[in-house]
Amino acid sequence: MLQVRLPSRRAVSCLVRAGAASLALALSFGPLATGPVRAAGPRVVSINLCADQLVLALADPDQILGLSPYARDPLRSFAAADAARFPRLSGTAEEVMVLRPDLTLSGRFTKRATRDLLREQGLRLVELDTVRSLDGAIRQMREVAALLGHPDRADAAVSRIEEAVARARSAADGRPRSVLPLQRRGWVSGGDTLMTSLLAATGLGNAGSALSRGLGRQVSLEAIVALRPDLLLLSEASVRPEDQGSALLQHDALRALYPPEKRIVLPELLTICGGPMLADAVDRLADAVRAP
């Protein structure tokens, strides 16, 4: 879901005083009202990792003024290689205020103070919701493509995802298996997440739904052992215990119950956001399930 928020009343009245020209700019909302600024579509800044993915996939290079600090993270950003060509911003309000893009994309959970400050400056800010399903991801891609002035550009990525889902469906063997998506410090993805939707597309059940109906929660090792899901889903094959949180994934109890053949590895960059990478995520999951 997308939500466009208008600048606060105070900010608007400020702008009225500032002059008619800037008022016209501030009020030029809606995907079709990009105005005569530039034919290629609105110039955009992203201050959120998932927005980075969509911008890189759907915008023209000359539209992109800057990306979030995580855009180049090789572990979490699918389009990290692409992102290297564009300015890396700090994710705070300052640079955005200087760049004055036509459109700023943030996440729903980007720092509140940053979002408020940008709105007060009269910048157009669109908050992207966390994607909770494949359908939601497809919807969001279409909406962002329209915002960026290229309403048809999402079609290719969407049909790739739909083909991958169809392939996975036809390959599913109908054995009901429960998979627990487990992250550092015992964080488990809950029922209402993209992960549940990805697993369902390949005929698998999310064991995490039993522990959390929402986004997920942190659970103790004991609860995991007692739940005994059929498979574990991790984001890395061999976790280097760089801190106590990731050391948990190497606990003897987990190693005893889940030898490598009972672990599915799906890199975080394929599942953390909505976007074109979901086609690869579905393919990888389907392969992993077929393997044993």
């Binding site: 995580y70 993270d73 979490r76 550092r184 410090r185 015992g186 942190q218 659970v219 103790s220 090792l221 004991e222 609860a223 052992v225 007692a226 005994r228 280097r240 215990p241 760089e242 801190d243 106590q244 949180g245 990731s246 050391a247 948990l248 190497q250 606990h251 003897d252 109890a253 005893a256 119950l257």
Partner: protein, 338 residues
């Protein structure tokens, strides 16, 4: 002697209590297991899940809480004996905070990972540095005020440095991990953690216990002790090394757990008298009981996320510390006037 028989009796009672608490802690956790199941699982029988929960998750946790509580209690008693001062304790001297900094710095620089022996070694170095620095700054005849102020400064510095080191590390989960290092926890530890910490804790404990006679001599004053053949300089170094080994190894696997070392000796003093030599073993046992009990409590108190055991020991320890200050008010005031 009546006193020594009383001391032995108290030690035996505390040891029994510690074992009882440890056994009870095996039966408590987020997954409910019947006592019969726990016993069977401990003996290697029954359901695999129950066996893993009891033997691989709860047993190492119980071992760690006994060992860490024990060494913290022992360290507190040793420092109080060395400084002839009832307000001495590792956590007031910033030792756990400095140990946490040592551990975090090695992790942040990527020198070691969280399951390697480099971690306790770095934490031990941090703890050693802080206690050494404190005793050097405060000097030989340090008054209470001086010790406490210097300890406050060192622990604040080490806490801030820990947070900074974590922020500078390329770890996006720094905020969570900082909370871990500053508030200790024993949740979901394994026998690998036990193997990392226990050897150092045992060695540190043995060092401290080996100096019991010196502590007793020291109650007569430094000069008298020296005439009895106690080298005070060497004794100080041995105590610093012993405390650093114990505290550093504990922090490396459990984060900072404060105030056990302050509270434990005071709890047993009414039972065994104030002879610092006789105080050591009961203080260690009392520390083991305290930490194990606290670690049971954090599992029983209903909450949505896990309560850190370090939070609980601080909540109990700080009011205790304030009461002690009130009791020592006159001496403290005299220290300020001097």
């Amino acid at each position: 002697m009546v006193r020594s028989r009383r001391g032995a009796g108290a030690s035996a009672a505390l040891a029994i209590l510690a074992v009882a608490l440890a056994v009870a802690s095996l039966g408590i956790g987020p997954v409910r297991l019947a006592p019969g199941t726990v016993v069977a699982a401990l003996l290697g029988q029954g359901d695999e899940a129950a066996r893993l929960i009891v033997r691989e998750i709860r047993l190492p946790r119980a071992v760690l809480s006994l060992a860490i509580g024990g060494i913290l209690g022992l360290s507190g008693a040793a420092l109080q004996g060395l400084l002839r001062n009832p307000l001495a304790a590792p956590s007031l001297f910033g030792a756990p905070q400095a140990a946490a900094f040592g551990a975090v710095a090695t992790l942040s620089l990527g020198l070691a990972d969280a399951l390697s022996y480099a971690l306790p070694l770095a934490a031990i170095a941090g703890a050693f540095l802080s206690v050494f620095l404190l005793l050097a700054v405060a000097g030989r005849e340090a008054g209470l005020v001086l010790l406490i102020l210097a300890g406050l400064a060192i622990s604040s510095l080490a806490g801030a440095a820990t947070a900074l080191a974590m922020n500078l590390a390329p770890n996006p989960f720094a905020a969570l991990e900082i909370a871990f290092w500053l508030l200790g926890s024993l949740e979901d530890r394994s026998f690998r953690h036990v193997a990392m910490a226990l050897p150092f804790i045992l060695f540190g404990g043995a060092l401290l216990l080996s100096e019991r006679a010196s502590f007793r001599a020291l109650t007569l004053g430094e000069e008298a002790a020296q005439s009895l053949g106690v080298e005070v300089g060497r004794l100080r170094l041995v105590v610093i090394v012993g405390v650093a080994l114990g505290v550093g190894a504990s922090v490396a696997v459990a984060g900072t757990i404060g105030f056990i070392g302050l509270v434990a000796p005071h709890l047993v003093r009414p039972l065994v008298g104030s002879d610092p030599a006789r105080l050591l073993v009961p203080s260690g046992l009392a520390g083991a009981c305290l930490l194990t009990a606290a670690d049971i409590a954090v599992r029983i108190i209903p909450s949505t996320t896990d309560i850190k055991v370090g939070v609980l020991t601080a909540i109990i320890g700080v009011p205790f510390f304030l009461t002690l200050i009130v009791r020592e008010r006159r001496r403290l005031a005299a220290g300020l006037a001097a």
